[in-house]
Amino acid sequence: MRKFTTTLGALLVMAASSTLADGHKVKVGMITTLSGGGSGLGIDVRDGFMLAVKGNKNISVITKDDQRKPDIAVQLADKMIQSDKVDVLTGIIWSNLAMAVVPATVNQGKFYLSPNAGPSKLAGKGCHKNYFNVAWQNDNLHEAAGGYANSAGFKNSFILAPNYPAGKDALTGYKRFFKGKLAGEIYTKLGQKDYAAEIAQIRASGADSVFFFLPGGMGIGFMKQFSQSGIKLPIVGPAFSFDQGILKAVGDAALGVKNTSQWSKDIDNAANKKFVSDFKSEYGRLPSLYASQGYDTGKLLISAMSKAKIKDMDKFRNALRKADFSSTRGKFSFDKNHHPIQDIYVREVIKEGKTLTNKIVSVGLKDHSNAYVSDCKM
């Protein structure tokens, strides 16, 4: 498989260098998680991105697997920048990997378009003119969850998240909007699958609600074990534990749970309808929010390419900043620190026939930006 991708990469290099004279070509390096735990997320981002750029002859993409390891992501980025001479990097899922790769990349004069990770450091003091986040600032969905908790009348929440940058951003985000008290706060191990001990703490804490951020396989374990524990507290969380790739594995334990997301497959606009039906016919499954983020990243890139050549970096950057593309999310623009201003929805897990999926219940936060704009000197 690896050999296959390298050969494919080499072919793409040859194809690209033969027509290098044309300044409209853009070479994209995609570093994402394609194997091991959490690979479902990377595969969705890649598939969404590839769907967006499908048939576009001016874009060539080199895709590499970071195995969710920061050191490997750094090596891949160095190789892509130095020997493959890519113009744009994208694809990273995890915030700890993004922190390792993004600063070096943008300092070497390359663009980085984030289709997922949005750590607070890169939105505030560490912001950079060549870094654009097309998904969200990490805190965003959690802030909406905190807002929802207020409107649902929760007064005493138990909150938990993994002990890594995005986990800390998650709890900070929830606390920023939630007005009640905290019954308890736990950081779990990244990659932890068993939550017996944490669930026992929740039971003993006297909380009236639970907020959790446990992306990927971590959330599957938590939801199943929580529903088996017989604790009847309402749960709220970001969409990451309730996305399309995971719901099947969680099963009915997820039914009725409220979760917050900037995207849902039932957002009513033409771009989203086309995306959902194209994705289904191309890959034979329903898209997740990760896929929509990959897709929007691809569409953003194409929109900038139609306005400017990549070699003219200032002009290209301005074109990116305008975000002149029809997003699957409807209204979409960039704030001053190059992070999205967008609506965040509250969704509920429902059953459509035999398939578990989400539907929008309400708009959680309208035209929401992030708390770090003023820290960003750009």
Partner: protein, 305 residues
């Protein structure tokens, strides 16, 4: 912190430990008898879970799925032993590590080709869903009690197998002197295949039982594998008794540590810092435990020095 909560967390630790025992007993058995370091042991955990998920989806029976996990992992174990592992016994440990690491990559990729990258669904049977009250006011998950029960049942089964049966005598003889028992006319290569299959099927069973409350996905075996190695180093390599004691020790230390350390730090630290620092130290505790035990007993608790 009430006593009830402490007791419940203790049970959680024991449950985690019994699951580790299923993994580490196979690992230590294989090392003890064949002298093989098998990094691919976590892959059998994964194969067991996927076999179970497949059968559960087809038949909707959890019990058939458990049998399938045993059978699936055992069949995979026999095939892999005959095709690959058999060539490694005479090689040194570095070659074994390299070859079995390659096996991890091959098996993970193979499973992904067959089942895709998204997690599969496997759930516990209705009869074990929910909780039971133990003593007066401890509410505990039925399924976790079932895991503890199965763990001790298998420990007992292994004890009988090793001490009371003909196969057990051969396994012990193999641990002591490989050349002598083949000189005595025991078919050593068949014995190795059987031992390897037993180890693999125990890992597979663990994968299915844990997969039902966690997630069945590619790469699920590797984090457990690391802990299983910690367990056999603590318990003494090659000793089943050591694996049992080591598993419970690691399970309880990890669970109690990661919950009560942050609480303890809150006494003299700001709460959010205490949570963050406490959980970081909590995740190191088992390695600290391992280091301490190795300082006092360099060959592990029950290892032969």
């Amino acid at each position: 912190m009430t006593l009830i909560l402490f007791f419940e967390q203790l049970l959680n630790g024991i449950q985690f430990g019994t699951m580790l025992f299923l993994m580490s007993s196979g690992l230590t058995l294989i090392f003890g008898v064949m002298g093989l370091i098998n990094l691919a042991h976590g892959s059998f955990y994964m194969i067991g879970a996927f076999s179970a998920a497949l059968i559960a989806a087809l038949t909707e029976s959890f019990w058939l799925a458990l049998l399938a996990s045993l059978a699936g992992a055992a069949i995979a174990g026999v095939l892999i032993e005959i095709i690959i592992i058999r060539r490694l016994y005479r090689r040194d440990h570095l070659d074994q590590v390299l070859a079995t690491f390659a096996l991890i990559l091959l098996l993970s990729e193979g499973v992904r080709w067959c089942f895709g990258a998204f997690p599969l669904y496997l759930n516990i049977p209705n009869i074990l869903n929910g909780t039971v009250p133990i003593f007066d006011n401890i509410i505990y998950s039925k399924y976790r009690l079932f895991i503890i029960f199965m763990g001790f049942l298998i420990a007992l089964g292994l004890y009988i197998l090793i001490t009371k049966t003909r196969l057990g005598i051969r396994i012990r003889a193999g641990q002591n002197d490989r050349q002598m028992i083949s000189a005595l006319g025991v078919d050593i290569s068949k014995l190795y295949t059987i031992v390897f299959a037993i180890g693999a099927s125990l890992a597979g069973l663990a994968g299915a039982m844990i997969g039902a409350i966690q997630s069945v996905e590619v790469g699920m075996g590797e984090p457990i594998l690391i802990l299983a190695f910690v367990v056999i180093v603590i318990g003494g390599i090659g000793s089943i008794k050591g694996a049992l004691v080591g598993s419970i020790l690691v399970g309880v230390t990890d669970t109690i540590g990661r919950i009560f350390l942050p609480e303890l730090l809150k006494v003299f630290m700001e709460p959010s810092n205490a949570t963050s620092v406490g959980s970081s130290i909590g995740s190191m505790l088992i390695y600290i435990l391992m280091a301490l035990i190795l300082i006092i007993k360099p060959s592990g608790l029950f290892g032969k020095s």
